[in-house]
């Protein structure tokens, strides 16, 4: 073959001791062994699920022995299946309708609470005066149990969607605020000094470096916040609502239908998983460099 072979620097010429970054065909990736397969999500999650169901069945039938306290998984499944497949599929008699109402409160409450959390976090990170002035009050406010302030919120805003969103937003607010502050306070000093050297304004520094650097931390807060939004929505519905999974849960308790109560709890768990999944997907789309870094890390792991 004619042509010049690519010049490969020897270790001496490169002055480094790092191995070649291009794996040779002979150095194939390490094969995934049975251990890797067993440790994968696709195996572990179903296994844990089966173990939990078996444990639940054992406790319900051998330890507790009364449906009043703990129905069996089968009874819960039957109740859920009935609720999901028995029409109507919309309206106050439909579990889908109530699921939608709760999801609506979660999403809007989350957006309001997280927006305020991020905004205030950015402002407080930029101003020591603001941080010193507001910090203790925010901590004190967040220490108040939501179940205690919820009736006051209903009194101020009236019963309905608005008060439900406000209650949910108060639950979401602090985790997002704290994660925003944390992220903004741990930006690489070297980068900040470099920008200072280039006479970048405070706004330019924030927009071009700080916010992007803080995003991983902010998203961590958002993941916590979205799960808390389900808690907030249920508290809101318990204090005063006519619709939503929280109302169905109370109704099931009143009717002494314990399997249905558990079925609704399962649906609440599903709601939390779905909402969390949305945030994780958004995180992967926005924080694409984390994806790049994990791919490079995988490549380094499997090349020798």
């Amino acid at each position: 073959m004619t042509g010049t072979e690519p010049r490969v620097a020897t270790r001496a010429q490169a002055g480094t001791t790092t191995p070649s970054s291009t794996p040779s065909p002979q150095r194939a990736r390490r094969r995934r062994g049975i251990g890797d397969v067993l440790r994968s999500r696709w195996v572990l999650v179903p296994v844990v699920f089966v173990v939990m169901m078996l444990l639940w069945q054992f406790i319900a039938t051998k330890v507790v022995s009364t449906e009043l306290l703990l129905p069996t998984p089968q009874r819960v499944w039957e109740s859920m299946w009935t609720a999901l497949t028995q029409g109507p599929y919309w309206g106050r008699a439909s579990v889908y309708y109530h699921f939608y109402q709760t999801a609506k409160i979660c999403i809007v409450g989350f957006l309001v609470g997280s927006s305020l959390g991020i905004l205030l976090g950015v402002l407080m990170a930029q101003s020591k005066v603001l941080m010193t002035a507001l910090g203790p009050y925010i901590t004190a406010f967040q220490s108040l149990p939501r179940i205690a302030i919820a009736p006051i919120v209903v009194l101020w805003f009236g019963q309905g969607f608005t008060s439900n969103v406000v209650i949910t937003a108060t639950v979401v607010f602090l985790p997002v605020l704290v994660s925003t502050l944390s992220g903004l306070s741990t930006v690489d000093r070297g980068l900040l000094e470099m920008l200072r050297g280039f006479s970048a304004s405070r706004w330019q520094t924030l927009r071009k470096v700080s916010l992007w650097a803080a995003l991983p931390s902010i998203f961590a807060g958002l993941q916590v916040g979205i799960v808390f939004s389900v808690v907030g929505a249920i508290v809101a519905e318990w204090v005063g609502a006519n619709e939503g999974l929280g109302v169905l849960l109370l109704q099931a308790q009143y009717s002494m239908d314990v399997p249905r109560s558990f079925a609704i709890l399962v649906l609440l768990g599903v709601l939390g998983l779905v909402l969390n999944g949305l945030i994780v997907a958004l995180q992967k789309a926005v924080l694409f460099w984390q994806r790049d870094e994990s791919t490079k890390k995988e490549q380094r792991m499997f090349s020798t």
Partner: protein
């Protein structure tokens, strides 16, 4: 993997932010439509807002709002009654009504009298004696060996909330039997199955609940013993229909009209409780009991409704047998004395009898005939 250019990163972040804002706006707009609105007109008909003092709708309160389906409300210029639930606290529902977030509610008189006793105007006025007898159902386990209040010194007491309106009644009953109320200990025992478990496992010795709550337990296979109340308590009355004070002043015709419709609905429910239950389920389908047959659900619901109606409907023994009437003005004074409040308390500011005649201006026989032949459409 190749690195995305800055322009693409900015676009991604911008799209995410704008989508979030649009979603918030769209959902908030859709959600706001569901907000309980203020009393407004439905054409020429008014909509009233009822603040339910319990956290879920129960069939026992059905007569307060199913009148629209029977045509009783339309006859009085009312389109419908919108019901909002509260956290189970009477105090909250009175506050919400006084603040104008609801037009009327059904509080127990203890709260109103105690507020007045502390110099606080509760902001609502009772216009109709809805529940004429105490609804208290103080339950003990049938195997507990507890026969009366005299056996409850040092007892653990279960309540649905630590500010339960039944606590003052309970403590008064203890005093009647020579037991110091300071020796008992209260704990929250929820509802339904939780209460049954608490009684059966001796987590509590007595549970302070109400008529229709206790009426639902036999269907679950549990028959609690209900302690007999002392005469002093049996002579008291219970919940009234209380409107926001300003609402009474500004809309007396609507108040009178609603009370007339309510009286008709109570008579209807007495004559045809099955139809009343089915109408309630149509208005609030999520309340229909699940996990049982339609027949079982209907039987259970009728039992609950009838247990409440027994304390609502006037009897020939009542000093004033008109619907919504109190025995006399002295009954309010006696209630205040029962709560240990000053004798000179202006209890008359808490209620009015000006609507009782209007509420009874109906043809009861005609309503009963209508109820007998009424069939609920699917």
């Amino acid at each position: 993997m190749r690195t995305l250019p800055w322009a693409t990163r900015r676009r991604t972040a911008a799209v995410a932010a704008i989508s979030a804002l649009c979603l918030t706006g769209a959902v908030a707009c859709g959600g706001s439509a569901g907000d309980s609105g203020s009393t407004g007109d439905n054409g020429d008909l008014a909509t009233l807002r009822l603040q339910n003092c319990v956290s879920v709708l129960q069939v026992a309160v059905a007569p307060l709002f199913i009148g629209d389906q029977l045509g009783f409300f339309a006859e009085e210029g009312i389109a419908k009654v919108e019901v909002a639930n509260s956290s189970g606290s009477t105090a909250q529902c009175v506050q919400l009504t006084a603040a104008g977030q609801a037009d009327f509610t059904s509080p127990v008189p203890d709260l109103l009298l105690n507020s007045l006793g502390q110099g606080v105007d509760p902001g609502v006025k009772c216009v109709y004696n809805l529940i004429r007898r105490p609804t208290a159902a103080f339950m003990v386990d049938p195997d507990s060996g507890i026969d009366s209040f005299a056996d409850l010194a040092g007892a653990k007491v279960g309540v649905h909330a630590l500010n339960s309106a039944y606590i003052p009644l309970f403590e008064a009953a203890l005093r009647e039997y020579g037991v110091d109320p300071g020796t008992v200990e209260y704990q929250v025992t929820g509802y339904g199955a939780q209460v049954i478990d608490a009684l059966q496992t001796k987590k509590v010795d007595v549970a302070l609940y109400w008529d229709y709550e206790a009426a639902g337990y036999p269907a679950m296979g549990y028959n609690p013993k209900i302690l007999e109340l002392p005469d002093k308590i049996n002579n008291l009355f219970s919940s009234c229909i209380a409107f926001n004070k300003d609402y009474v002043t500004e809309n007396p015709d609507l108040v009178a009209g609603y009370l007339r419709a309510l009286t008709k609905t109570l008579i209807f429910a007495d004559e045809n409780p099955e139809a009343a239950v089915r109408l309630f389920w149509k208005a609030a389908p999520e309340t229909k009991p699940t996990g049982m047959s339609e027949e079982e659900a209907l039987d259970q619901a009728v039992a609950v409704l009838e247990s409440r109606l027994a304390n609502v409907l006037p009897s020939d023994d009542d000093p004033d047998p008109r619907f919504g009437a109190w025995a006399s003005a002295q009954q309010w004074v006696d209630y205040a004395a029962f709560l240990g409040l000053p004798e000179d308390l202006d209890v008359a500011s808490l209620y009015t009898t000006e609507f009782i005649d209007a509420a009874n201006d109906i043809d009861g026989d005609e309503v009963r005939a209508f109820a007998k032949s009424y069939e609920v459409e699917d």
